[in-house]
C-alpha cells in the first residue's frame, strides 16, 4: 500500500500473473527459476477474510474475557462460537478481572501497561528491501531503480543502454507500469531478459513486488539489474526496493523547477540524468538552473546531461554503470574471506 497517495493493492500482476501472497519478512525466498509445470508454493493472496481473522486469534489467549472483547459484536460472535465449540460457550458469561499479563488483579488497579513498539511506519517494505539488498550484495548484482515522471524517456534510455552494453555486461530489467506489458516487450526486443510488473491500482513498485520478480527472473551473478519504476515523481521516493541507487531522469521538456516541486524524489536519488538535451536549442529551458535547483534539494546529487537520440552523455552514463558493477562484484567477498583464499585463485586479491 502506498504511504503517499493511498492507492490500493491487490491488482498487481507480474507477467500477467497474480502476485503471490505476502511473504513475511524472514521467511525463506525462492530465487530459482520456476520449473515448468511446478505448482505455486504460496497460496494466492487475496483473502477477503484476512482482516477479521485476527479477532479469533486474539480471543484465543483471552478466553475468559470473551464477553468483554471489543469484537463481541454480531459480526464476530459467530466465528468465536465456531472457534470455542459448545464446551466453551460458558465463557461468554465469565467476567474475569485478573486477565492482565500478571494474571492478578488488585482492586482499582488498572491492568493497562505500556508496550514498546519503536517501529517505522514503512518498516514492512524496508524489511523486504533489506532482503533484496542482501541478495544483491551476496551475488554481486548492481541494482538501479529508475524513477521519473511519465514520458521522460526512461524506456528509450534503457533500450539504448542495453544495445550499447550489447553482450558485454549481463543484465536484466524489471519494468513497472500500471497496465500493459509494452515496455517489457520493447526491452526484450532490444535483447535483454525483462519482466513486467503491472501494479494495477498501485502507483509505485514496492520491495515485495521486486522480490517476487527477482525470483522469476533467475538473475545471473555479477550482473546489472535495471528496475524501471512506475512513471511518478511522488510515491516511488518513499519505497526502498533494495537498489544501490535511485536514478532520477529529468527531461528538458519539463520545467526547471521540477526538483523544487517534487523535492522528495530528487532528495532520494543519487544520480540525475538530464535527458533529451538534444532538444535544448528548441526550448526555453535553462539547464544550469535545473541542475542548481536539484542541488538545492540534494547537494550531493550527481548529474549527467545526456541525450539518448544524439548519444551525448552516453559514455559517461555507461562508465558510471561499469564502475558500480565493478564495486558490486568486489564487495561480494568480505575482506576476511578474500584473505583466506588462495591468491592465484582470486584475481581480485591480486589486483588489490
Amino acid at each position: 500500500m502506498c504511504m503517499t497517495c493511498g492507492c490500493g493493492k491487490g491488482q498487481t500482476l507480474i507477467d500477467g500473473r497474480v502476485l503471490a501472497r505476502q511473504r513475511k519478512p524472514g521467511e525463506k525466498m525462492r530465487y530459482q527459476a520456476r520449473q515448468k509445470g511446478a505448482t505455486l508454493s504460496h497460496s494466492p493472496h487475496p483473502n477477503p477474510d484476512e482482516t477479521s481473522s485476527h479477532s479469533t486469534r486474539l480471543s484465543k489467549g483471552n478466553s475468559q474475557v470473551a464477553g468483554n472483547l471489543p469484537y463481541a459484536g454480531e459480526g464476530h460472535m459467530g466465528s468465536q462460537r465456531e472457534f470455542y465449540g459448545k464446551d466453551h460457550l460458558h465463557s461468554y458469561e465469565t467476567i474475569d478481572f485478573g486477565d492482565g499479563p500478571a494474571g492478578t488483579h488488585a482492586p482499582g488497579m488498572s491492568q493497562s501497561r505500556m508496550v514498546k513498539i519503536e517501529r517505522d511506519i514503512l518498516s514492512k517494505n524496508n524489511d523486504y528491501a533489506a532482503e533484496n539488498r542482501k541478495y544483491f550484495s551476496g551475488h554481486g548484482i548492481f541494482a538501479l531503480n529508475l524513477v521519473s515522471s511519465p514520458g521522460s524517456g526512461k524506456t528509450t534510455l534503457l533500450v539504448n543502454t542495453i544495445s550499447a552494453l550489447n553482450g558485454k555486461q549481463p543484465l536484466a530489467v524489471i519494468e513497472g507500469d500500471q497496465q500493459t506489458d509494452n515496455d517489457a516487450a520493447r526491452i526484450r526486443a532490444a535483447g535483454a531478459p525483462a519482466l513486467q510488473i503491472n501494479t494495477g491500482k498501485g502507483c509505485h513498485l514496492d520491495a515485495h513486488m521486486v522480490g517476487q520478480a527477482m525470483q522469476r527472473l533467475n538473475l545471473e551473478d555479477d550482473s546489472l539489474l535495471l528496475i524501471e519504476n512506475v512513471g511518478n515523481l511522488v510515491c516511488p521516493a518513499g519505497f526502498d526496493l533494495g537498489e544501490a541507487h535511485k536514478v532520477v531522469i529529468f527531461s528538458v521538456t519539463e520545467g526547471e523547477d521540477k526538483p523544487l516541486k517534487y523535492p522528495d524524489m530528487f532528495r532520494a536519488s543519487d544520480m540525475m540524468l538530464l535527458s533529451k538535451i538534444d532538444l535544448l536549442p528548441h526550448l526555453d529551458f535553462d539547464a544550469d538552473l535545473a541542475v542548481a535547483n536539484a542541488r538545492r534539494v540534494n547537494p550531493d546529487i550527481q548529474v549527467i546531461r545526456m541525450s539518448a537520440t544524439s548519444g551525448e552523455g552516453m559514455m559517461e552514463w555507461l562508465e558510471w554503470i561499469a564502475s558500480g558493477c565493478h564495486k558490486a562484484v568486489a564487495d561480494k567477498y568480505p575482506v576476511g574471506e578474500l584473505r583466506g583464499r588462495e591468491p592465484e585463485s582470486n584475481p581480485l586479491l591480486q589486483t588489490g
Binding site: 500500500m1 502506498c2 503517499t4 486474539l58 493497562s112 513498539i117 517501529r119 511506519i121 534539494v297
Partner: protein
C-alpha cells in the same frame, strides 16, 4: 502525502503487536512524526479515527510527537533548523544542507490493557 494509508499502516502495526503481545484494547498510541515527513497531523488524526473503528485501537488517544527538521549546514559546519527541504540555511543562505532529522515516521509505544 495522503494520511489515510499512513493511518492504515499504523493500525496494521498495532494489530501485529496485539497478536504477539495478546492485548485486546489500546488506550493510547504515541507516534513520532518528523516535520519533513510530509504528514498533515490533523488529517492523520481524522483518518486514524476512521480506520480504527471496530479494531483494538478504537477510541484510542493519538499522541503525536512532532520532531523538528534538522540539518547540517556544510558551509557553517553546524546544525541548523530546516523548515522545508528547499529552504536555505538560516545563517548563511547556502543550500548545502544535509538533512539529519525530521524525516521519521514511527510508532513509538502503546498503552494497552
Amino acid at each position: 502525502m495522503h494520511e489515510m494509508s499512513i493511518a492504515e499502516s499504523v493500525l496494521q502495526i498495532i494489530e501485529d503487536s496485539a497478536r504477539t503481545e495478546g492485548y485486546t484494547k489500546v488506550n493510547a498510541i504515541w507516534l513520532e512524526i518528523g516535520q519533513l515527513a510530509g504528514v498533515e497531523m490533523e488529517s492523520l488524526r481524522f483518518c486514524f479515527d476512521a480506520v480504527s473503528r471496530d479494531s483494538v485501537a478504537e477510541n484510542a488517544r493519538l499522541e503525536i510527537i512532532e520532531t523538528a527538521g534538522q540539518g547540517w549546514c556544510l558551509e557553517c559546519a553546524r546544525n541548523v533548523a530546516v523548515a522545508a527541504r528547499y529552504e536555505p540555511c538560516p545563517n548563511c543562505g547556502s543550500f548545502q544542507i544535509e538533512v539529519t532529522g525530521g524525516e521519521e515516521m514511527r510508532v513509538k509505544e502503546l498503552e494497552v490493557e
